[in-house]
Amino acid sequence: MVDSLLGIFTLTDVLDLIIITVVVLALNLMAGYAGIPNFGMAVFVFIGAFILAGVGTRIALLLASYVDPGFIDTLGREHAFIALKYSGSLRDLVLYGVAGDPVVNRIATPGLEAIISQDLILSIILLVIVFGLAIIVGALTGIIASFAATRLKEDYLAIALLAFSEMMVTVVFDQTDSLAGGPNGAWVVRPWPSVLENAIKPVTPTGVSPDLMIALIVGLLTLLLCILYAERIANSPMGRMLRAMRDDDLAISVYGRDVALTRLKVMAVGAAIASIAGAIYATIHSPVKAIDYNRFDWTFTPWAMMILGGVANNWGVILGAITIYTGKRLIHFYMPGLLTTLTPILEIVSRFAVPLVLVTILVILLLVTLHPRAKSSTMKRLITYTIIGLGGSIVLVVILSISIKAILDNIDIVRAITLNIFVGLIILLVLYLKPQGIIPEKPSKTLSRKELEEIQTKSYKEKAPNPYKTTLDTQSEEV
């Protein structure tokens, strides 16, 4: 691993950052502009990865044996069990072995890669097929999701998309060995021609594989194109209208068809972009396993980044991605050291744990009695925050001090857990501090009968609210 920027980013990390930024931008297109709360983003990313691992390897085998008919025999000679199990049958190997059988897959992929990259034509063919398919299948899936959006209301849509993603990635793919190795995953055949690899060599730092460099460059290109497209959407009249009408079902339904069509396009492009990102990611992170495309990393974290940056704000979203990713890297890098440094202090604290907790409880009890007597609501809120903050931090410190040894023994797990909690807390914090304009409503194509009736009976601007509902000013709301 080569230490690079700031000492905490390796070049692989940089690639990961580029990819996740592309994914977040794509999510922003889908959720921020097309108004589709995509809780199934993971599957879109996964499509590209799967096509590379599942389809690409098979195509590569076909191409390779076309050029070098003896390839399979060579393989069989070097690995007897291949000859036995597949009896040199190209058909079997393509249908199952090269992608579905983890052993064959591991053995065959380097050789395949060697053959493909030597031949410029072949690698271009593979490249076009893999990325072309990724785009097409991705776009189609995006279109399907768009249709689902017209039938379901937003929370149901979110659940449906989540269910779909889980189904495809964690069940169908993970459990079906024949697709691409099941839980063991499949190694990929990288479609880069050797010409490219040689051209890259001068700029490649020592110890870094040319594949990583190529992925970085391709990734950056994708990011650039993505930004260009996203900004074009944002600044176009249609884009501005989409953003302005996000929360206004009525306006959307009046404008109808044009908007629906643009939404469809935005969804398709966004999905295709995510898919490409997944494919690029997969060229470096082999083998492609379902567990690496889980909903936490590829749906939830992008949502966190998007919310932090500001929905429908492209540059904000990029900033959000960089911030959270950097935060994760910082935690990953500095946490063990920080804890080790703190150990002596914590040891002292642990000795005073009991009195410390007692004092805190007393203070909190005092604050709790003060709370009802507080004069203003800001005072009340201050007290509540102090109670929570004080209680939370003392609990944290005490637990830390008691278990510091156990933590340091299990530092990897603790660190991973801290990273997850970090992302979760960021989401809650952002939602708490700036709740406005987070998520757009779902678009509807035509007015339902109920909506028409509501329009007819509407005397005032708002939809018929509950008649007993007070307007905000006349009754104090409980916090």
Partner: protein, 337 residues
């Protein structure tokens, strides 16, 4: 034909699993009716109940058996554990759910965060809860507690044999406890003034407030109960599984959603039915189909795909009949109006 049916033991397991899901679905639907947001953290609440049970039993085991040398007491304490565990899990997880309502959902909702934002908030809470749980279990001093991740309480599960069938106590206890809790909930919600006020507050909070009902207390109680149901479910569920890991919650949550959606998100009784159906489908029906296919010469292992069924149920129900079974039934009842 008889060869195709799974064993009676498996049927019992299936019913137990269905019962645990039914409990979870009731709680999920309850929270949905109160806050209009599907709580992604619900399964994790159940797992918290499992963790509580694990800690409790492990500690009691250490105190009474390993250190106290009370092995002469035999199996009797085990039976009391079956009562103590769900009760403590009910209370503790009810509290955790209440915390989720008070610290996450209520403040965000009063700040005007929409449904999607609230859903994400529940996802965030889920992440945080499951990780805190994992952390706690990892860090528990092994001398004090024994290793808590990956163990099984199956060893504690008393086996029961009768009529030539051999099963375990937890599998028999689960349906009983599920039915008991369901009946208790029904009585509470229909026969007590406070319970009726909960239903009133959920349906029309503004009218309820005018009548002097404390709507906020009603909401808090509902969340507490929902959490309690989840906790009780988790408390018994842990006896049935090998290799306990908190992360399992992220797999179960989909089945819970499937059950609630199947039953109809506006009806607790629907949730009971839907959860049970989904549970039995995922286990018994899947194995049944698998056996049938095998009998016809197509030996496919379907058990790996059991979650596929619940996921498909979610998608199909949402697209075709989002009001769930209860919605369909009431439509038929009203003459298709």
């Amino acid at each position: 034909m008889m060869l195709v049916l799974p064993s009676t033991e498996y049927l019992i397991y299936s019913i137990a699993y269905g019962s645990s899901l039914a409990l979870l679905c009731m709680g999920l639907t309850l929270t949905y009716m109160v806050t209009k947001v599907p709580n992604f953290a619900h399964a994790t609440l159940a797992i918290t109940g499992s963790a509580v049970t694990l800690l409790l039993i492990d500690r009691i085991y250490h105190v009474f058996y390993l250190e106290g040398g009370a092995s002469s007491l035999g199996k009797t304490p085990y039976y009391t554990l079956y009562l103590i565990a769900p009760i403590s899990a009910f209370l503790i997880v009810g509290l955790v759910a209440l915390i989720q309502y008070l610290l996450v959902l209520r403040p965000l909702s009063s700040r005007g965060v929409g449904v999607i934002g609230l859903m994400i908030a529940t996802l965030a809470f889920d992440i945080i809860l499951v990780n805190i749980l994992t952390l706690t279990l990892y860090l528990m001093p092994t001398a004090y507690f024994g290793k808590l991740i990956g163990p099984s309480l199956k060893g504690f599960d008393v086996s029961v044999s009768a009529l030539g069938i051999s099963t375990s106590f937890s599998r028999l206890a689960l349906p009983v406890i599920a039915v008991t809790l369901a009946i208790a909930l029904h009585l509470f919600l229909t026969r007590t003034k406070f319970g009726v006020s909960l239903r009133a507050a959920i349906e029309n909070p503004d009218l309820a407030r005018v009548l002097g009902i404390n709507v906020d207390l009603a909401y808090m109680t509902s969340w507490f109960i929902a959490g309690g149901l989840a906790g009780a479910s988790g408390a018994l569920y842990i006896f049935m599984v090998e290799n306990f890991k908190p992360a399992v919650a992220s797999l179960v949550i989909v089945s819970v959603f499937a059950g609630s959606i199947l039953g109809g998100l506006g009806s607790i009784y629907g949730a009971l039915l839907g959860g049970f159906l989904v549970g039995v489908t995922e286990t018994f029906v899947v194995v049944l189909i698998q056996n049938i296919l095998a009998a016809y010469g197509l030996p496919i292992t379907l058990t790996h795909y059991q979650r596929l069924f619940s996921l498909l149920i979610v998608i199909v129900m949402l697209l075709l009949a989002p009001q769930g079974l209860t919605g369909l039934i009431s439509r038929v009842g009203r003459g298709g109006r």
